[in-house]
Symmetry: C2
Subunit: 365 residues, 2 copies
DNA sequence: TTGAAAGCGCTAACAC
DNA sequence: GTGTTAGCGCTTTCAA
């Protein structure tokens, strides 16, 4: 089947072989030495041509370029990294890529990173603290020049280690003191949502959180929610704040919703900590017979694309996604340039409310 | 606005500084030599301890481990890559991460890759041929051990170059002869959709494709669609196959739908090339007054999560996503081991139909 | 304008 | 068991 495979007559199994060493000739890629030899110059000259440094005569330049093309030479990033002590790699740590908000953010980050000559290493942690730690460890072995954290399990050990090692880190859409952060202003966002609901006549307002959500942001929005209610003199009822975790227990959402709305004094509106949760909440509410927005108004947070569909029509607090991505990368790059001693930068971006069909006046009037 | 920004008094810009060399002490990370020195052994012994190779006395082992911990030593991947001629890096090229199907596939791939000790480099091409080529070039400079293509712009040059360079490549959910491929059986899937519609009484069936879709798969599903109709003796009308590209022209979808359904002889059902398209189509149809499924039945393809929402309730041909991801990675890994001369493996996985609310009997009975 | 030489941090073959 | 040594492919002084 594979004529190139050396046949080993001896009884012992051959050791496991690795890519490139395997059956068939190893694919030896041309090195800078090959280019130098072919063009009859030294490798430093080739290097100069590649990087556009030093001064090289036009003739030599052309000759080198020709050999590069002829050989299909491509510089080896590992070798360059080793000597330059930088990799042009940026690690991106995300909790759940299946969440549309995260996916879009990652996509934009990769786009910007690429523009600046960086390649991204994306890690999905699933919100698992140990997996998060392991992936970050892998990123550090790769000697990434910086790390973007879209997810932070709240395990302070991981973050403080990163900070202690003086690795450039940007926290995106999550928050930690002493670290560079770019996030939406959760307080302003939640206030927008509450004002909208109050304006419609609601006074019994609850809060919903999905267990998958990034912990620091979850806490912040929860806090923002309570403060906003208090500031407006509205009742804060612990039993109106529901949470579930479908990963742990598939029916936990249903149970939470049933319990909440089958009590005498149920909320007429819910603010969800993100769109994912909001959409799931609408689903659960309708499944148990509550019309949205007739019996229950729902506001989300993020502004993901599917909320825009007329069948979903989710009223939501939209994050300025593009600005979030571009500013984050800018902050990270400047941290990478300025070194660990520069003062940290923390930015809060202003969200905006998008009113759609999932909110309306409360049932009784 | 931003007090932290350094104010530049001089007219000239300072030279760009690089990470680690910049303000503040350079962060010199401990090397294997530091560990060796601290434990009073040679670096090969440290290397043996790290990799669990050779034979090291228990005492030495413990001492080395201790120094490693004391120094916070972490091996440098670039150095290892250089000597081992392998990187344990896998490149993942995707067209649009914002498409839920892709995002989920990437997430699963990353998961599996990690399990096998590989780190993934994710590249989003936006369906742009030149961006695709540039990203792949970057992956090759990184000397990735293998590449997973979830997107293939159809630019044969890129793929044939990869194959010529004998880089292990797996095409996922897209197809090319002579390359390792893992994809769903598009013909079977489309047949499932058509059979379902025919069973409901439809005979005028059209096809919809979003311009963003991966070209090879798009063509295959289109072809599958036509063949399935012909095999059942149904009419294939070119004007019933619509396409649009919102990226190019935001209203192109609306126009296509208006034109199609405001003719005398319009289809009563549409098979969309993927769920993304199907959902958009439902939206467009309803916006122009056509009820789904009352006046128009819609079937999607992929089985993305939001199709499951009761408000969307999309009938669709579901891909076995987990199997797709795990088999793809297995094929890629085996290619990496076996070398370029092993026979190529091509797998077609069987999809399944999920019937939900977007399909029903045709309007006239 | 060019080249020689010294590493970057690690592995792997081999000597002791 | 442990150390010595020779690179991996590149950049970067420094001389010529």
């Amino acid at each position: 089947m594979n004529p190139d495979r050396r046949s080993l007559r001896s009884g012992a199994m051959p050791p496991v072989r690795h890519a490139g060493h395997a059956a068939g000739r190893a694919v030896r890629r041309p090195t800078i030495n090959d280019v130098a030899a072919l063009s009859g110059v030294s490798k430093s000259t080739v290097s100069n041509v590649m990087r556009g440094t030093g001064s090289v005569s036009a003739a030599t330049h052309a000759r080198v370029l020709e050999s590069i093309k002829a050989l299909g030479y491509r510089p080896n990033a590992a070798a360059r990294n080793l000597v330059q002590q930088r990799t042009n790699l940026i690690g991106v740590v995300v909790g759940d890529l299946a969440n549309a908000f995260n996916a879009e953010l990652v996509k934009r980050l990769e786009q910007h990173a690429c523009t600046h000559g960086y390649t991204t290493l994306v890690c999905n942690t699933g919100g698992h603290a140990e997996r998060e730690a392991a992936r970050i460890e892998a990123l550090l072995e790769q000697r990434v020049d910086g790390i973007a954290l879209l997810e932070f399990t709240g395990d302070r050990a991981v973050l403080s280690q990163l900070l202690a090692e003086r690795v450039p880190v940007i926290m995106i859409s999550c928050w930690a003191d002493y670290a560079d952060c770019v996030a939406v202003d959760d307080y302003a966002g939640i206030a927008l949502a509450i004002d909208h609901l109050v304006g419609l006549g609601h006074s019994r307002i609850g809060h919903a959180i999905d267990g998958l959500m990034e912990p620091t942001t979850r806490r912040t929005r929860m806090d923002a929610f309570e403060r906003a209610l208090l500031r407006r003199g509205l009742e804060v009822r612990p039993e109106w704040s529901i949470t579930w975790d479908d990963a742990v227990e598939p029916t936990s959402g249903e149970r939470a919703v049933q319990t909440l709305f089958h009590s005498d004094h149920a909320p007429s509106a819910m603010v969800a900590a993100n769109d994912f949760t909001a959409i799931r909440l609408m689903e659960l509410a309708e499944a148990s017979g509550l019309g949205v927005p007739e019996q229950l108004s729902v506001v989300g947070f993020d502004g993901i694309a599917i909320g825009e569909l007329s069948r979903i029509a989710l009223t939501t607090v939209a994050q300025p996604r593009e600005e979030l991505a571009s500013l984050s990368l800018e902050v990270l790059l400047s941290r990478m340039e300025q070194g660990p001693n520069a003062p940290s930068r923390q930015h809060r971006l202003q969200p905006s409310l998008i009113v759609r069909g999932s909110t309306g006046p409360p049932p009784s009037g």
